[in-house]
């Protein structure tokens, strides 16, 4: 998008009566001076970031956060590290904001490899002109999401870029977690005959964001599913230790996640269209824009590959949790067509589900 920042709420004059530029102590919006590393930067950190994200490590205000993991490692735990860049327009959407996404996205990446998430770092690239109240609100949401997910933000950084050079706000998070001894999820464990399960309805996040984008605007009860999955997955792994692998169907949706599994494990996957859980309103919104719900992003769902005999237990466990109520078995791993995902259509036909090539664009044809 060209630099028509919607947060352009700068009402104060930039020059004094004589035409001389006023000094940058504008308290209402983020300015380049806030990124300078001096008093204004410290101001921002103290008034916006620390109150929202503060924890004993961060509050030491040192250049790096020191954390204790020795005891978990001694018990056989391994360190898991993930990173995620978050850029979303608009910054706030039904069901969440970039603040929650920044936490959930990285937490879930850790969760997918079986790790218990522990710490996050967060880098903020702020576009000049973002109102400080908006920034505070988003960081506060991020802090709340972090606490709910049981993670502490132990290091952070902020930079400010010129107007037109940023999408309001970008957040980059790195996550650190511990994979308990005995857990080894991954493609190598996948076998023909395994069941493929998804934890809930598809396409909620992507369509929620699209519904509030300008010029595609329509009204609908579309809500992002952004959520941390650590508890859901912990319950699943406790009930089904034989779980093969997990994947979160974020960008590229379920289609991308299944293709990645099929390629990594060198197996085929077959899914049943009739089994795919999609809210009717999401299906309608997708139809309207010519999009396939399979390719639309999710931010609070997990795809699990489990041995066929564990499928019933896995489903029961997921459904017992608020984030997994709509969990359903959608298909199976097959030895045929390795690397390819096929779908049995509702009218009894078949088609391939390819890896989406870049962003799926709405169409009229």
């Amino acid at each position: 998008m060209s630099g028509t920042a919607r947060h352009d709420a700068d009402a104060s004059p930039r020059t004094d009566a004589g035409g001389c530029p006023l000094p940058h102590h504008d308290r209402e919006v983020v300015t380049l001076a806030h990124g300078g590393g001096g008093a204004l930067t410290r101001d921002l950190i103290e008034t916006v970031f620390l109150p929202a994200l503060g924890n004993p490590v961060l509050l030491r205000r040192e250049d790096a956060g020191i954390v204790e993991i020795a005891s978990e490692v001694a018990r056989g735990g391994r360190l898991a590290v993930s990173t995620d860049c978050h850029v979303v327009q608009p910054l706030v959407f039904p069901g969440g904001s970039i603040g929650e996404l920044a936490v959930h996205g990285t937490v879930n990446d850790l969760v997918m490899v079986g790790a218990a998430p522990r710490f996050l770092t967060a880098g903020f690239v702020i576009e000049e002109g973002l109102p400080i109240t908006m920034l505070s609100g988003l960081v506060a949401r991020m802090g709340a999401a972090a606490r709910a997910a049981g993670v502490a933000v132990v290091a952070g950084d902020t930079k400010v870029v010129e107007r037109g050079r940023g999408d309001g706000l970008a957040i980059v998070t790195t996550g650190i977690g511990i994979v308990p001894g005995g857990i080894a999820l991954g493609a190598a464990g996948v076998r023909a005959g395994d069941a493929v399960i998804v934890s809930g309805t598809l396409g909620d996040h992507g369509m929620a964001v699209m519904s509030v984008r300008e010029s595609l605007g329509f009204e609908a009860d579309l809500v992002s599913d952004s959520a941390p999955l650590h508890e859901l997955v912990a319950a699943l792994l406790a009930a089904c230790p034989a779980t093969r692998m997990l994947r979160d169907p974020t960008r590229g949706g379920l289609a991308a996640a299944l293709n990645e599994i099929a390629t990594a494990a060198r197996v085929g996957i077959e899914i049943d269209e009739a089994a795919l859980p999609v809210r009717p309103v999401v299906a309608a919104a997708c139809e309207m824009l010519g999009l396939d719900p399979l390719t639309v992003a999710n931010e609070g769902k997990v795809v699990a590959v489990v041995p066929a005999e564990s499928a019933a237990d896995a489903l029961a466990t997921l459904r017992a949790h608020p984030l997994g109520r709509a969990a359903v078995r959608i298909g199976r791993v097959v030895p045929d067509h390795p690397g390819v995902v096929s779908l049995a259509t509702r009218v009894g036909g078949g088609r391939i589900v390819p890896l989406p090539i870049g962003a799926d664009l709405p169409r009229i044809c």
Binding site: V278, P280, V281, A285, M288, C365
Partner: protein, 93 residues
């Protein structure tokens, strides 16, 4: 070509001389230009393409089509294809 969807007319209005309506597509509501079907009324179904209603969906014709289809393949009476007892639009989990 021609992704057009049927939707139910929720309300109609005139806006700067143009007939407009709010149309419900299975839970998604959009503003649609009704310049081509200015006499369409609330509760009727419109066929909508790129934000314009191209015509009405004729419910009687739909019923007729389904009745004729039910007779194909030697079925004596319609079963779950009964047009008056159809399942809800959209996909259910």
């Amino acid at each position: 070509m021609c992704l057009a969807m049927p939707g139910r007319v929720e309300s109609v209005r005139d806006e700067a001389g143009v007939r407009m309506g709010r149309i419900d597509f299975g839970g998604v509501v959009r503003d649609v230009c009704l310049a081509c079907v200015p006499d369409i009324t609330v509760g009727e179904w419109a066929l909508v393409h790129v934000g314009f209603a191209l015509g009405r969906i004729d419910e009687t014709a739909a019923r007729e089509t389904l009745r004729a289809l039910a007779a194909i393949g030697g079925l004596a009476e319609p079963t779950h294809d009964d047009p008056d007892r159809g399942p809800a639009d959209g996909v259910e989990p």
